[in-house]
Symmetry: C2
Subunit: 289 residues, 2 copies
């Protein structure tokens, strides 16, 4: 049987990003934490932690952490069957797309987290990286736009987020005085979330435009909205995120006929325990728009 005290030390050092704080969290001295990791590495015959330039697990350490997380989830089920066992909140590591986190996610899971005493460890990833991290066992679930299944995991459709091309009215008057056109797209600065973001390209392709266009890069949902609201560019935003700004007249669609729908899927490991099953059941009833 694995000595879970050693895995707990590894998990806590990563979570706390340091030996001293991990010691505080565990009620141990810093050197006792070090000693546990050393013991773990000796037993394993290889390092579990990279110290420089940042504390991070080695691939072997990552596998151990994932195992530790799965055991914690199973223990949680056990505890609800045997409530006299000492309790501690489980932490669920989930890869999630930025726009969900900036819009419907918190309202959807709020009551669930409170009722279950669940702590979230959220990781923002684009879908390819998120699914890879699920496959590698680094996260317990992944919320993304891909329905590509992962062996051993389930994939549940959650619904669709709706995006519109928003900008300030002043921006639209300046760059799109006659509405969308090839000439306008060529010169109007757009805002793109990152190099993997395809929404802007999909929108332009839908409009029949396939040429180059100037754009800002802004890998933050909230920053994206702020740049648009400051008149710096136009971009594809979830209606839900900017409904108040649209209502107040600060943002408007530059092409009210156009909308892009992005389906979202919830991927999670089968046999990860009842908590994830319940969370999945709850997410299946959420309205995304």
């Amino acid at each position: 049987m694995i000595d879970y005290k050693l895995l707990e030390a590894l998990a806590t050092v990563i979570e706390c990003n340091g030996f001293e704080r991990a010691g505080e969290a565990l009620g141990l001295s810093q050197s006792a934490v070090s000693q546990r990791l050393k013991t773990l590495e000796v037993r394993l015959g290889q390092p579990v932690l990279i110290r420089h330039p940042h504390l991070e697990p080695t691939p072997a350490g990552r596998r151990l952490l994932n195992h530790y997380q799965q055991v914690q989830l199973l223990e949680r089920d056990l505890r609800s069957a045997l409530p006299t066992l000492e309790t501690a909140s489980p932490r669920l590591r989930i890869a999630i797309n930025a726009d969900s986190l900036a819009t419907w996610w918190a309202d959807a899971v709020g009551r669930f987290c409170r009722d279950e005493g669940l702590l979230l460890d959220l990781v923002i990833e684009d879908q390819d990286v998120g699914l890879r991290r699920l496959r590698d066992g680094e996260v317990a679930a992944c919320l993304c736009a891909s329905d590509q299944p992962i062996a051993g995991a389930r994939c549940v459709p959650l619904g669709t987020m709706v995006y519109h091309p928003y900008a300030t009215p002043a921006y639209i008057a300046r760059y799109f005085p006659q509405g969308p056109s090839e000439a306008a797209f060529r010169h109007a600065p757009a805002i793109v979330y990152g190099p993997h973001d395809q929404l802007q390209h999909r929108f332009l392709a839908q409009c029949g435009y396939h040429g180059a266009f100037p754009y800002h890069l802004c890998p933050s949902s909230e920053g994206f909205v702020r740049l648009a609201a400051a008149g710096i560019g136009y971009g594809m935003m979830p209606h839900r995120q900017v409904a108040d700004l649209v209502k107040a007249g600060q943002l408007a669609s530059l092409d009210p006929q156009r909308r892009l729908e992005v389906p979202l899927y919830w991927h999670f490991w089968r046999h990860s325990g009842a908590l994830l099953e319940r969370l999945t059941g709850m997410l299946g009833e959420v309205q995304l728009t």
Copy 2:
């Protein structure tokens, strides 16, 4: 003299995240873009691009890209002296802390970007990584909480952001019925931005609490606010970001006497040209709170 067509091909492939889209952007075939990169690698005697699992520059490629960016900035100055030269918008790559991007940044730089035709390439990094990327020449400037100078770069203080410990009134009534206390901190789930985020620890230390506490991890400014507003946890948020929610009674400080001040600094390469100097002058006049 370097053949800048080759560097442009490299920069465009990275920006567009693909050879086909880079070709479209440059008005070239995909194979012409490939050929330019091959030529560059032959001249350099080493690869500039990693193809798998994601397109990204090698360390050598990164140096070339940084050089290319600096040349573009210098060209921009030249163009304003010689306005008959063909013009194209420069793109400025800046590392920035997430909370600035979620609050004051866009309003501060909006007019400047419009007037100068400047495109932003924003990268969200915590301060240590941001400063390292500046030192490595991957970004032209870094906005962060560290005043640690980088050789060859200037460091300008921009002012202070003010953080308070906010939660919903219902959350405060449930977890802090008698106000902040050791027992309350031990059980109340907090929200922490990421493992490098020290605000929560600083707040607790200020309150005289040094023990363990349960927390959610949420590496998104907007997601952070949404989790708090959904009653999932409490956390340190910039007053400016949540002023509307506080006014509407949806969030309140659980300890109105406490505030944390975070100074912000703007680091940028000397001799990067007049555009960065003007941006710096403009940022020096911004009100952060």
